[in-house]
Symmetry: C2
C-alpha cells in the first residue's frame, strides 16, 4: 500500500490505479500509468509505468501529480493480432505457457497473476522487434501447477514449431518447476535439430525491476543464432542485467527463491554466456549441434513415479503407501553419496528397496546434496542398498532422475532394461566421468 | 584391487594387507603398514600408511618391496587408555559419535566402516598433542542412521561436558546428516556458554587423502580459542587443505556428495575462517559470545513430524497417509517462494493444508531452492496457502524447520503459539531481515 499521504492525494485528485498520470519532480516529467506500490518498495514513491514498458518509482515528496484524461488498464496487443514478418529478420517461435514472465500485478490484491500471452510479451520487449516472431499461446499457468500432462502438451507444441522454418523456439514458463519441464522435453524430443530455449522471469514483466527483458532478448538471440540443438534454460547469469547463461536442460536447478540469477548449472558447465547485444560465448564444448536430421516426438510418460527424500527419523512406511497405490517407480533423494537409513530395525529403508525391486519396481538413488555423484560401494551401507536392488544414478539431479524414470518406465517394464536405460546418458543428464573423489 | 602385477609380487613375498613393509623407490624409503588400494586410486601404486598417520601411494614400477617382521593391523590406543593432562595446555572435550572421521577401510570388502573412537582419533592426529583432551565415546554410527533419539543422547553428553572446566566441545559425526544434528543441538542447548563444534570428514582417517586432520585441528582451535558460544560445524572451506570454515549450526547444509568443502553456509555468512596454525578470522559479527551463565538442557522433541517435498505430479494423498499415522506436524519443501500445487483439483495441496490446520496440525513452508526466503503474498497462489493456514518460515532451511518443528511441538499444542515460535528466531535459524528481493 502507498503511504497515507499518497493515498490521500490520489483520493483528492480522483486518481485510481491504472489511470494515466503525469508526475513532475524538479526538471523531470513522467507520463504513464499509475501502478500499485511494489512489494517492499518505498511506500512514499509513486510507481508509474512509462510508454516504453518500464516502470519507475518517483519520490512523492516535492512531486506534482496530475490526472490525464481516460482511465485504462495497461494495454497490450491481443493474442490474435498477427505480427507481420519482414524479410531479412531471423524467424523465432515463442510458445507461452504462463509464469511470472507472463504475469502482471493483480490490482485487486496487489499480488501477481499470470495474464500475458506471447504477443503481449513481444509488445513489452521492444528489442524483440529485430526478429520475426511466430507467437503461440499454450497455457496461462503458474509452474507449480504443471504436471506430466502439461509436459506432453508442451512437447507437442514445440515439435510442431520445429517442423516449420523457424530458426529456434522459445518457451516462456514459470520459474518454479521450469527445470522439471526442460528435463522432460530433453527426453521427449529425440534427435533435436534446433535450439529449444526455456525462459522466464523472477519479477513480473510490468515491473521496473523485471528481469524479463534481458532474459527474452538473450533467449531470442540464443534460439536464432546459436548452434546448440538441445533443450536449454536461459536466465540471468548474475544479479545484474549484464548477461544470461544458457544451462543444459537436464543439468540445471532453481537454487534461489527470488534472485535474478536463481538458476545454476549443477554437475556441468553452463552451455553459453549470452549478452543482451547478441554476443554468444560458448562455455561448454560438449553439446549437440544444429543439423538437418528429422526430430521425433516421444511423449510417453509413466506418471506413477514418486520422489522420496530421506531424512533422520523418516517413516519408511511411505514406500508401502506408494506401493499400495500401484506406483511403478521410486527415485530416492538420499543423503551424501546416496545413503538411506540402513541399520536400525523399523527405520531402515533397505527392506523397502528389496520389496520394491522384487515386485519389479525400480528404485533409483540420487543425492539431496545435489552437487556431486552418488556411489554404490564406498561404504558398507551403500553396498547394502545396491544388493537390495537400488540403481545408483551417478551425478543425475533428483528432479531429473524423477522425470527420466517416468520416461523410461513408459518404454520398458523389465528391471534390467530399466537399469540400463537409467544408467545410460540420453540427453546430457548423466556424466559418466565426473570424478567421485578428488584424489 | 591392486594390479595383477602387484598382487603376484605380494603373493610371492607372502605379504598381506596390514603387514609392515618397506618400499624403496629411487632414493626414497618408506616404512609402514600395507593398505588396500584406494577406491579410484591407481591400481599400480602401493599404498603404505606411515607412522605419522598419513598414507601415501608409491608407484610400483621400479619400486622394491620388502616384508618387515610381524603382522599387525593398524594399531590405535584403546578407548579406555587415559591421556594424561599437562598443565598449560587448553582442555577440550571430544565426543565421538562415528562417521567417516571415525572409520577405516574394511579389509574384507574394501569399503569403509565406522570403527574409531575419540582416543583413536587423537592418536592419528598428532597435532592434537598441544591440547589436553577429555575423550568420550558415545556411538559408532554412520550418520544416515541417526534419529531424534540420538540427538537427545548427544545433547545430554555435550551438556555434561559443558559443566566441566573444558574450554570447548568437539563432536565427531558422520557428514551425511551432521547439519540436522547441529540444528537439533542448537535448539536443545539453551543459553550456551562455550563453543560446541561438530566436525567430520569426507574420507576415512586412515587414508592419505583424508581431510580429517585439518578438520580436527581447526575444530580444536575453534573450540578452545574462539569466543563463539554456539553450535557450529567446522569443515574444509576449500578443496585444498588450507583452511576450514565454522558454519552456524542452523544455517549450513551438505551441498556436495564427496568434496572436502561439501558444507556451505546457506542464507548466512560463515562464522569464521580457521587456519591449521590456529589463526581464527571472524567472518560474521553476529554471534553469541562465551559467557559465565548457566547452560540448560531442553531435550524434548516430538518425533511425529514429516518433511514433504512438492514436485510436479506429486500425490497429495501423502498428507492423508501421515495424518492417518497421527503425525503432529508437517514441513513442506515447496518450489520457488514456497509454492505448492494449488489450482488443479485432485492435485492441489491447499485442501490438505486446510484440513491439517483445522485438525491442529501445523504446516510450515520452506523452499527446495534452499537459498533465499519463502513469502506469503507475492503471488495469488501463495496467499491461498497462507489463507489455508500455512506458516511461511522465511529463510529457514527445510531440514532446520523440520528439526525446529519437532522442538516446538514438544513445547506447545496451540497452533497460534506454534506459529509464533516457528516464526521467532531461537538459534540463528531465521534472519528477519534478509531482503526478499534485490529492489
Amino acid at each position: 500500500m502507498y503511504s497515507k499521504e499518497i493515498q490521500k492525494k490520489l483520493k483528492d485528485l480522483g486518481v485510481e490505479i491504472g489511470d494515466s498520470v503525469r508526475v513532475k519532480r524538479g526538471d523531470q516529467v513522467y507520463e504513464g500509468i499509475l501502478m500499485p506500490k511494489e512489494e517492499l518498495g518505498d511506500s512514499n514513491a509513486i510507481v508509474v509505468k512509462l510508454s516504453n514498458g518500464y516502470a519507475i518509482g518517483i519520490k512523492f515528496e516535492g512531486a506534482e501529480l496530475e490526472k490525464l484524461s481516460g482511465h485504462r488498464q495497461i494495454g497490450f496487443k491481443s493474442s490474435d493480432e498477427k505480427i507481420k514478418h519482414i524479410a531479412g529478420k531471423p524467424l523465432i517461435s515463442i510458445i507461452s505457457t504462463g509464469g511470472t514472465v507472463a504475469s502482471r500485478v493483480d490490482y485487486t490484491t496487489g499480488g501477481v497473476q499470470a495474464s500475458y500471452n506471447a504477443s503481449d510479451l513481444v509488445s513489452i520487449v521492444p528489442e524483440l522487434g529485430s526478429f520475426n516472431i511466430n507467437s503461440k499461446f499454450l497455457f496461462s499457468m503458474m509452474s507449480e501447477d504443471m504436471t506430466a500432462e502439461h509436459w506432453k502438451e508442451m512437447a507437442k507444441a514445440v515439435y510442431k514449431e520445429l517442423k516449420t522454418d523457424t530458426s529456434g523456439i522459445i518457451v516462456t514458463h514459470g520459474t518454479d518447476t521450469m527445470h522439471f519441464s526442460t528435463a522432460a522435453l530433453s527426453f521427449m524430443l529425440k534427435d533435436l535439430n534446433k535450439p529449444v530455449v526455456f525462459t522466464g522471469s523472477q519479477r513480473s514483466s510490468d515491473r521496473g525491476s523485471s528481469d524479463s527483458f534481458i532474459n527474452m532478448i538473450c533467449s531470442a538471440n540464443f534460439a536464432s543464432k546459436s548452434d546448440v540443438a538441445e533443450v536449454s534454460l536461459v536466465m540471468h547469469g548474475s544479479s545484474n542485467d549484464d548477461f544470461c547463461y544458457a544451462h543444459r536442460g537436464t543439468k540445471v536447478r532453481k537454487l534461489h527463491t527470488s534472485k535474478r540469477d536463481a538458476f545454476k548449472s549443477v554437475n556441468d558447465e553452463p552451455l553459453a554466456k549470452i549478452f543482451p547485444d547478441g554476443k554468444i560465448e560458448m562455455t561448454n564444448c560438449n553439446y549437440r549441434k544444429r543439423c538437418d536430421g528429422e526430430v521425433s516426438l516421444d511423449d510417453k510418460l509413466e506418471e506413477k513415479v514418486a520422489l522420496i527424500k530421506t531424512y533422520p527419523g523418516m517413516d519408511p512406511g511411505i514406500f508401502d503407501f506408494y506401493i499400495g497405490k500401484k506406483f511403478k517407480g521410486f527415485v530416492i533423494e538420499g543423503t551424501g553419496l546416496g545413503h538411506v537409513p540402513t541399520t536400525i530395525e523399523g527405520r531402515s529403508v533397505i527392506p523397502k528397496i528389496r520389496e520394491a525391486t522384487k515386485a519389479g519396481i525400480p528404485v533409483c538413488i540420487t543425492s539431496q546434496c545435489l552437487f556431486g555423484r552418488v556411489h554404490d560401494f564406498v561404504y558398507a551401507n551403500l553396498r547394502k542398498e545396491f544388493e537390495a536392488g537400488a540403481m545408483f544414478c551417478g551425478d543425475m539431479l533428483p528432479e531429473v532422475a524423477y522425470v527420466k524414470l517416468m520416461h523410461v518406465l513408459a518404454h520398458s517394464k523389465d528391471l534390467e532394461e530399466i537399469r540400463k536405460m537409467m544408467l545410460t546418458n540420453i540427453a546430457g543428464e548423466l556424466n559418466e566421468r565426473t570424478p567421485v573423489f578428488e584424489l
